[in-house]
């Protein structure tokens, strides 16, 4: 070839995170899913190894959702009012590979469920569905510090991802992840320096970088998506250049941002495409795990991931 290709050879790689432990690994999940592990920029397959496709987790709550638009609720039918049936429907009807459970019901404003009740919910969920889980708190730091240790323990050895640890509240969650064999979401406010700092603080507690998944805090399409997009590109470039403190897989909470927007509420097609394009655009920036809400948006993005990854390449 007369054109000398410009090929980037990177010294670093993103660490691989396994989610879900099977029976022989001490858990009860039907499979273990890997994310991360790439040693090239997104989709540049010729420059390194990209062993794992981005994965999508269906977002479910431990209570019926309180602020989801009607069109979104309608996609799940009656089951949306019964969290276990809802989770079951995601797995059995929509073939969810992963679930992301939000313990919203523990929030003081949304039911204020206690520690025992929250932990029991996770135990029941684990026996109801057998896919790997991501489990996140209620967004109330004080309450989450009370319930999450029990929730984490209820899922001990299931190798979940739990979250979300933030700069001024990470110790309780990190200790739980360490004790119960989970990985941890480290959430930073669209700030690469805080992301790095938080990863270091968590690893100082003994949780390896390989067990941290970064949440860069995204904005939806049209609502600041570009900030997270560039933070993710910068962090990924640093990781590939050899900075181990940023070499973690990304989790992006797509659904919660996309369905907050005015556009998502204007028509169901608009909502679905808004969620889908928010997701697919962040895949271009390196998203490894996407937490999404609408089954059709999830189906469309999954198809797109297949298109991106399965075509024969020279």
């Amino acid at each position: 070839m007369e054109t000398q290709l410009v090929l980037e050879k990177w010294p670093g790689a993103v660490s691989t995170v396994s989610i879900g432990a099977k029976k022989e690994e001490g858990g009860t999940r039907s499979c273990s899913i890997k994310i991360g592990g790439e040693s090239a920029l997104p989709l540049l397959f010729k420059e390194g190894s990209i062993p794992n496709k981005p994965k999508i987790a269906f977002e479910v709550w431990d209570i019926a959702p309180c602020d989801w638009p009607e069109e979104l609720l309608a996609a799940y039918g009656e089951e949306i009012n019964d969290p276990l049936a809802w989770a079951d429907k995601c797995v059995n009807k929509y073939k969810a590979e992963l679930l992301c459970v939000k313990m919203q019901g523990a929030h003081p404003d949304f039911g204020n469920k206690g520690t025992g009740e929250s932990a029991k919910f996770i135990s029941r969920l684990l026996s109801r569905v057998n896919v790997p889980l991501v489990i996140i708190g209620s967004d109330d730091d004080t309450k989450d510090n009370l319930i999450m240790p029990a929730v984490s323990e209820a899922a001990k050895k299931e190798r979940c991802i739990i979250g979300c640890a933030v700069q001024d509240n990470y110790k309780t969650l990190a200790a739980s992840a360490l004790a119960d064999g989970h990985s941890l979401i480290a959430q930073s406010p669209i700030d690469i320096n805080i992301a790095k700092q938080l990863n270091i603080l968590i690893s100082d507690m003994g949780l390896a970088f390989e067990r941290i998944v970064m949440d860069p805090t995204i904005g939806a399409l049209g609502y600041g998506l570009e900030y997270a997009y560039s933070i993710m590109e910068r962090a990924r470039l640093a990781a590939l250049s050899g900075d181990k403190t940023l070499a973690c897989a990304f989790i992006c909470f797509i659904g919660q941002e996309a369905w907050k927007t005015k556009e998502a509420k204007s028509s169901i097609e608009q909502g679905i495409v808004w969620e889908a394009v928010t997701a697919s655009s962040l895949i271009q920036a390196g998203a490894d795990l996407l937490v999404m809400r609408h089954p059709k948006a999830i189906e469309k993005v999954n198809n797109f991931i297949e298109i991106l990854y399965s075509t024969p390449r020279l």
Binding site: S280, F304, I307
Partner: protein
């Protein structure tokens, strides 16, 4: 790769003759490297050195202007691989392909839909840019359809015809609108190059691989055709992203002139969701033009919004004039809400205030384009700044009451703000979506 001052020095006469106004050739070379002086200042420079330095001064990706009327736009002229390195400059042109085998009525219907694809978002107008006419019938039909398109849209025109005499005639008919011609290939480049040269029109060059593409652009340059757009043909999305990335790197990292042009990508998906995801992938990854089929407003606005996001200058968040904005038929008793001058904050609040149908004033405080929480953390949206804004914006001349609604996220400043401003502070909702219910329950 840009030449350094020393590289340039080697090309100069090294006589220190001072005719350029500087003491030494080295000092002059340093100024040239900074592009602070023109090369013409040196009367003794060799022709060879001059051409090297002139080529060096050209942008690595040639800017191409499409169209001639008020909606003309520029593509190319990009300088970075990642937007955080500086910014992406010329937003991707979005276009639609129309087949001449459609009936006149069908074409008109499609054009009417395309013409309506205009949206307002955060104070910017988002528009689609191009209409391409693809030949499927004979020359006569192609010319008829060309006229139809010229008469029914003011978007820029791309002419896609394999029948070169028909393409030339269509190009002549549309010449005033400076259409983009599609396309030069290994088989026709001499003939189509002659047409592009004669009519002075930009031309798309198609080849599957970068070697063939480079050969073609060099051949066309030799014929005097320089306004080119590249297309690597139909291939998988990942391969297309690879091509787009590689072409951008060739131009920026290797100063490869043969590939220093904007790139066009055609999306061939029938499903609108897949089409939107593929189109936005190409926008994020360097395409100069993306051609679509789907014209549904809900699909196109998602694509245009992603383009707006990616092409926003990371150093300059979109901002509005910090001042007092009346919304609706306001009176002296209308509620007063305060937010930042970050466009997204302001327009989100504006949208919800409008939706509430309660006439209100929005006071936009100068936070240099920072959002509410960021500006609060940076002390640009604090009691001092808000008080100053209340004083200088003329609020007191238009409203009678002294109640101020602040975003829920900055509830912690209520006490200080009340003391400093003398206004009674009402804490509003955290998310703008809560504004309509909040305003309705006020009083």
């Amino acid at each position: 790769m840009a030449l350094s001052g020393l590289d340039i020095y080697k090309l100069l006469p090294k006589t220190n003759c001072r005719q350029c106004g500087l003491a030494t050739c080295l000092a002059f070379a340093m100024q040239l490297a900074k592009k602070a002086l023109p090369i013409e200042k040196c009367p003794f420079i060799s022709g060879e050195a001059k051409s090297i330095l002139e080529a060096q001064a050209l942008p690595p990706i040639r800017p191409i202007i499409l169209g001639s009327n008020e909606s003309k736009f520029e593509i190319g002229n990009e300088t970075v691989l990642f937007r955080h390195e500086e910014k992406f400059r010329n937003p991707t042109g979005i276009g639609f392909i129309i087949d001449d085998s459609l009936s006149n009525e069908q074409i008109k219907t499609r054009l009417a839909k395309i013409n309506q694809l205009k949206f307002e978002r955060v104070g910017q107008s988002l528009e689609v840019n191009l209409v391409a006419l693809k030949q499927n019938k004979d020359a006569e039909r192609y010319l008829e359809a060309t006229k139809l398109i010229l008469n029914h849209t003011s978007r820029q025109i791309m002419l896609m015809a394999s029948d070169l005499p028909a393409l030339k005639q269509a190009g002549q008919i549309a010449k005033e609108r400076a259409p983009l011609l599609y396309c030069a290939t290994e088989n026709n480049f001499a003939q189509i190059g002659a047409i592009a040269k004669e009519l002075g029109l930009p031309l798309v060059v198609v080849a599957q691989d970068l070697d063939s593409l480079s050969r073609l652009t060099r051949e066309l340059n030799a014929l005097g055709v320089n306004n080119l757009v590249l297309d690597t043909g139909s291939k998988s999305v990942a391969d297309k992203i690879w091509d787009l990335t590689q072409i951008r790197r060739q131009a920026l990292k290797k100063s490869n002139r043969a590939l220093g042009y904007p790139v066009l990508a055609i999306v061939e998906k029938a499903d609108p969701y897949e089409e939107a995801m593929e189109a936005t992938a190409y926008i994020a990854k360097y395409a100069g033009i993306v051609m679509l089929k789907g014209t549904e407003a809900w699909e196109v606005i998602s694509i245009l919004t992603l383009r707006q996001n990616i092409y926003t200058d990371p150093q300059k968040p979109l901002q509005i004039d910090p001042k007092l904005y009346p919304v609706g038929q306001v009176s002296q008793n209308s509620p007063l809400l305060v937010t930042t001058n970050f466009s997204l904050s302001y327009y989100t609040v504006l949208g919800e205030v409008e939706a509430s149908k309660i006439p209100s004033y929005i006071l936009s405080v100068d936070t240099q384009g920072m959002s509410v929480l960021t500006a609060w953390a940076a002390e640009k949206f604090n009691p001092e700044a808000i008080t100053k804004s209340l004083e200088t914006s003329g609020v007191k001349d238009v409203i009678k009451h002294k109640n101020l609604i602040i975003p829920g996220y900055v509830a912690m400043m209520s006490g200080d703000l009340e003391d400093q401003s003398g206004f009674k502070i009402i804490v509003g909702p955290k998310e703008a979506a809560g504004i309509p219910a909040f305003l309705k329950n006020l009083n």
